[in-house]
Structure formats: structure tokens, C-alpha cells
């Protein structure tokens, strides 16, 4: 299921946060959205999920598959979320409900959207748990007993357990160390590709982006400044903003290699 944004603008209390953004993701395509902190990346993710704060004003068109998200009623959106669109969030520790066990967490979207018996649901969630590389023993763990990487694996399992057609990953690796980052990106990419789902991967880090996506958009201060194939942008940044992001990624990677 593709995502299509036309002229999306978001403002909160008169302050424009996202300005006239066009973004398109084809079925099964992995597309990145890169930009510095505060450039409005997360707002775009929220707009795609229909989760904008109530005091935000959104204009333009956001289509998920055939559904127009902006202006859709809560019911339509709730049916869409978790079933056709999955979301992976930045901070794995706080995105997991502290009073739900890992396995109940993963079952949540199934419980919300599908009429399965408890046994089928458990079976399905356990299968997903194995697929993200966690073992049986962790099913009964509480979120605080897991490491950051394991928590994000649970987040990914929750997002993918219903086999959504589109994944929106909002800085899924930002809170993780660089080695875990790579594992999580690889895991996410392999699962998304297996499922044949589309993915919008949001990050500020070109190094991660080049691993996760084929094509990307560069966002600066709420405006789209650049777009193209990730590899091309990495080699020949078209705009100063892109160049700065690429430079930052290079420097960080370099420092890692020096160690």
C-alpha cells in the first residue's frame, strides 16, 4: 500500500511546521525521510497516521492506499492503524506499555483488529517474536527487563504482527548504539521486504538511511529541499542542507572507524 502526500502543510497555533510537502511511496518501496531535528519529520509521520495533535491544522492531501487520511473520521483511522499501517517509534523503552508483558504487547494489534481465539493470537504473536530474533523466555518478560535493542525488536514485532502493507518507522534506531542500530535496520528491512510492505523510514542519519532505503527525501525547516536515490544523494548532495547531513554522517562514521 503506497503513501501519497500532496501539498501537505501542518501548523500548530499559527506556527507553520511542515510546508507544502509532496511525498510519494510506491507499493513495496522503502523510502527515507531525512532531516535535522525539528525539521518536521515526525509531524509528517503523525500526519500519515492521522495522529496529529488536535490543535494542529493540516492542509493538503495524504492518501494511504485509497484512504484520504486528513479529515477522515477517527473510526476509519483506527481501522487503518495497526492493520494496514504499522508504526515503529523512536524510543523503544517508553513506547512499550510498562504494565503489559512482551507477548501481550505484540498481541495488541491482533486483539484490536482481528477476531482470533486466544490460542491463535498467542501462536501468531509467538511466531512474530521468533521472527524478530527473541526467544520464548522473553515472552513473559516485562518491557523494563529488556535491553534497548530487544525493546525495539518488540516494537518491530508489534508493528508487523498484523502484516501491514505499510510501515512508518519514526527514527527507529536513534535511541540505540551504532551496532544495535545496524542490526535493527537490517531486521526491519528484511521483515518489511519479506512482507512486501512499503516503508517510510524517518531518520536524521544518512548512514542508517543508506542501509534502509533506496530513495529518500530531504526535509529542512518543514520544506522538502531535495530528493532522489539515496546512493546518489550520498555521493553528490544537491543542496547545502543535504551536504551538511551527509557530512555529519561521514564524520560520525569516521570517528567510529578510528576507534
Amino acid at each position: 500500500m503506497g503513501v501519497d502526500m500532496q501539498g501537505l502543510s501542518v501548523s500548530i497555533g499559527g506556527t507553520a511546521i511542515v510546508h507544502d510537502v509532496d511525498l510519494h511511496i510506491d507499493d513495496g518501496e522503502r523510502v527515507g525521510l531525512v532531516g535535522a531535528s525539528g525539521s518536521g519529520k515526525s509531524m509528517i509521520a503523525k500526519a500519515a497516521l492521522g495522529l496529529l495533535p488536535l490543535d494542529a491544522r493540516a492542509q493538503g492531501a495524504v492518501r494511504l492506499g485509497d484512504t484520504q487520511v486528513i479529515g477522515a473520521d477517527e473510526r476509519t483511522l483506527a481501522d487503518l492503524r495497526g492493520r494496514y499501517v504499522g508504526a515503529v517509534f523512536q524510543n523503544p523503552g517508553s513506547s512499550l506499555n510498562p504494565v503489559l508483558r512482551v507477548i501481550d504487547q505484540i498481541e495488541l494489534p491482533l486483539r484490536l483488529h482481528y477476531d482470533l481465539s486466544a490460542g491463535e493470537r498467542r501462536e501468531r504473536a509467538m511466531a512474530m517474536l521468533h521472527k524478530v530474533g527473541l526467544d520464548d523466555a522473553l515472552a513473559r518478560a516485562w518491557p523494563h527487563q529488556l535491553s534497548g535493542g530487544q525493546q525495539q525488536r518488540v516494537g518491530i514485532a508489534t508493528a508487523l504482527v498484523t502484516s501491514p502493507r505499510c510501515i512508518i518507522a519514526d527514527e527507529p534506531t536513534t535511541a540505540l548504539d551504532s551496532i544495535t542500530q545496524r542490526q535493527i535496520v537490517d531486521l526491519l528491512v528484511s521483515l518489511v521486504d519479506d512482507a512486501g510492505a512499503a516503508m517510510l523510514f524517518i531518520t536524521h542519519d544518512f548512514a542508517v538511511l543508506s542501509r534502509a532505503t533506496t530513495r529518500c527525501y530531504v526535509l529542512d525547516c518543514g520544506t522538502m529541499v531535495d530528493s532522489g536515490r539515496t546512493a546518489d544523494l550520498l555521493r553528490h548532495p544537491g543542496t547545502p542542507q543535504t551536504a551538511a547531513l551527509v557530512e555529519a554522517a561521514r564524520e560520525l562514521t569516521l570517528r567510529k572507524e578510528e576507534r
Binding site: A78, R124, A137, Q150, Q183
Partner: protein
């Protein structure tokens, strides 16, 4: 990539070894044949190449049935009660409340004397072999009346807690609503209404209802519900604006789902303490309101009734007042302690036993 093994213990390893299982699967053609029966999933009408991959997991690793779900409600309650029993004050609260429950049940079928049997020759008697706690001004057996009263009070306390919880949570829901107009109006309304004394509300309610149990239940439920909402609001707010609630919403959970499934469990400690305080205060309020003549109607046994009928003679016959007074005090203390201990015992963060046996 060799570095990967360092992090997360064996996880990196797991990841790679699990890949042949998940990825090496033949795609669509085969998967259609091995597609698991997913009533709901097949409904969507999309290809389920992904769903089909759950097969290998169930092939080579049969899920140990019951393993992940072994902490079911009954065992949970058993663990919580055991942890409460281990503390001295928890034991006190549990014993008092258990006695209350048992006496209330027993009083349904048996009291030492029938309630309406009076002995005009022995009024205001002290404790004796015939009347363990003495007799009151009509010569009726004090113990029998207190036993019968315990079930009225139990009923009132349960009803008050239920009304408080329902009304309080409704207010909490409004106060943490994403609709800022509703949220601010309800906050102001709660702050304003909380200044109205419960007794005044009871007096107003008594006009249409007369002296009745309903007056106690509604007045207390209203007053304590406001209190509960105000005390629980900050925590509920934190939960409502948390990343896990946003994540639940991103998974398709609607307003009530979020409230019941994600916010309430996370503010449970506050709720438990507030509700047990309400239960204790309800016992006191019953006595107070009955004394004022707008609580339990005369003729219906209750602790407040026993107090109210004997309190006028406290200077002459103090013992008759002592028993219900002592009873109310002990029960209120037990209820308050109960909430405190329950909070500690029921919270997985403070009670390691609830977390199960694995952890790091």
C-alpha cells in the same frame, strides 16, 4: 558484522540463525498452501506471504502451551495475597477484612439473638454470659445488632467504591481528553465541585430520597469520585501523553480502549490507594450521616445506627458506645492499611514475585 555478536548477548547470533527460517521460505506459491487458518486475517483480501512465514516457527518450535500465560488471574491474586500476608500490617488488614466478610455472611443466617427480641428488664447492661457485648436501651443484644450491621456496612462500602471508581474514572477520562475544551472545563468543574462538602451533598440528596442507603452511596460516591479524579489526574495525564499510549493509538486503539487498557492499568497504584481510602471514609460517613438522621433509616441495622442510638447516653453507659466505635475505628484503619499494602503487593515494580522468575 562480526562485531554484531558482542551486543545483546546472543541476540545478534539469533538474528542471523533465525533468518534461514524466516527468509529462506519459498514465497507466494508455496505459502498459499501452507497458509494458516486466520479467520480475521484472510478477511483483508491481501496476499499473506508474511503470515505464511509463521509456519516454520510452529514447525520446529512448538509453543509450550500455557508457558507464556502461566500468570493467570487466580495465581496473580494468590501471589498478591501472599505478599500482603508477609507484612505485619497487611496481615492485620487481611484478618480484619476477612472477619468482616465472614461475620456479614454469618449474620444472614444466624445472630446470637433475633434483632427484634428485646428484654425490657435488662437495658443498658454490660457484657455478660447471655449478652457478650451487653444490651442497648431497648434491651436488644448489641452483638447481634453489630453483626447484622456489618452486612449493611459492607454493602455500602462496596457500592461506594463502585460509584467512586465509575464516576472518578469518567472524570479522569474527561480531564485527560485530547479535546482541550472538554479537558479544561472538566478540570475547572472538578475543582469547583470539590469545595462542596460531602455532608451538604448528602443533605441535599436527603430531600428527595429521605433517609436511605442511597443517600450515603450517592453522596460519598460523588464526593470521593471528585477527589479520586483530582488525585489521579497528574498520573493519568502522564500516561495519556506517553509514548506507549501514542503507540497503542498507532496500533488502532480507540479512546476507551486506551483508557481501559493503557491508562487505568498504569495509574492503578493511585486508584487502589484512593479507593481504599474512600472505602474507609465511607464507613465513617455512614456513621456520621446516620447520626444526622439522613443515612441508614432507623430499624435497619448498621454500625452508624448502633452508634447513633446509644451516643446520647455516653456519659452514663459508655460501653454501649464503645463497641460500635471501636469496630468502626478498627475497620477504617484496616481499610486504609489494606490499600497501602495492596498497592505495594500488586505493583510489578515493587513486588518482584509478580514479574515471574526470569529477568536480568
Amino acid at each position: 558484522m562480526a562485531n554484531d555478536d558482542i551486543v545483546n548477548g546472543g541476540i545478534a547470533d539469533d538474528d542471523r540463525t533465525s533468518r534461514p527460517r524466516t527468509q529462506g521460505l519459498p514465497s507466494d506459491g508455496d505459502s498459499a498452501a501452507s497458509r494458516p487458518r486466520w479467520r480475521g486475517l484472510s478477511r483483508s483480501g491481501w496476499g499473506w506471504s508474511h503470515a505464511a512465514q509463521s509456519e516454520p516457527a510452529s514447525d520446529n518450535a512448538p509453543i509450550p502451551s500455557g508457558h507464556p500465560r502461566s500468570l493467570r488471574p487466580l495465581r496473580r491474586i494468590a501471589i498478591i495475597l501472599r505478599s500482603m500476608w508477609r507484612h505485619g500490617e497487611g496481615r492485620f488488614a487481611l484478618i480484619v477484612l476477612a472477619c468482616w466478610l465472614i461475620v456479614a455472611l454469618v449474620s444472614l443466617v444466624w445472630t446470637p439473638y433475633p434483632l427484634l427480641v428485646t428484654d425490657g428488664y435488662h437495658v443498658w447492661n454490660g457484657p455478660s454470659a447471655q449478652h457478650w457485648l451487653g444490651t442497648d436501651g431497648t434491651g436488644a443484644d448489641v452483638l447481634s445488632w453489630l453483626m447484622a450491621g456489618s452486612r449493611t456496612n459492607l454493602l455500602i462500602v462496596i457500592a461506594v467504591v463502585a460509584v467512586t471508581a465509575a464516576f472518578g474514572l469518567l472524570l479522569v477520562a474527561a480531564m485527560v481528553s485530547r479535546r482541550s475544551a472538554l479537558a479544561s472545563v472538566s478540570v475547572v468543574a472538578v475543582d469547583a465541585l470539590i469545595s462542596v462538602p460531602t455532608v451538604l451533598i448528602a443533605l441535599i440528596l436527603a430531600v428527595p430520597l429521605g433517609a436511605s442507603i442511597m443517600v450515603v452511596v450517592l453522596a460519598c460516591g460523588f464526593g470521593y469520585g471528585l477527589n479520586l479524579a483530582r488525585v489521579a489526574r497528574p498520573q493519568a495525564m502522564l500516561a495519556a501523553r506517553s509514548a506507549y499510549v501514542e503507540s497503542a493509538r498507532a496500533n488502532g486503539a480507540g479512546g476507551w480502549r486506551v483508557l481501559v487498557g493503557h491508562i487505568v492499568p498504569n495509574i492503578m497504584p493511585v486508584l487502589l490507594v484512593q479507593l481504599s481510602l474512600s472505602a474507609g471514609t465511607a464507613v465513617l460517613a455512614e456513621s456520621g450521616l446516620t447520626y444526622l438522621g439522613i443515612g441508614v433509616p432507623s430499624g435497619v441495622p448498621s454500625w452508624g445506627h448502633s452508634l447513633a442510638t446509644s451516643v446520647k447516653f455516653i456519659n452514663v453507659f459508655p460501653l454501649t458506645v464503645l463497641w460500635p466505635g471501636l469496630l468502626v475505628t478498627v475497620v477504617v484503619v484496616a481499610l486504609n492499611i489494606f490499600g497501602d499494602v495492596l498497592r505495594d503487593a500488586a505493583d510489578p515494580l515493587t513486588n518482584p514475585e509478580l514479574r515471574g522468575d526470569h529477568g536480568r
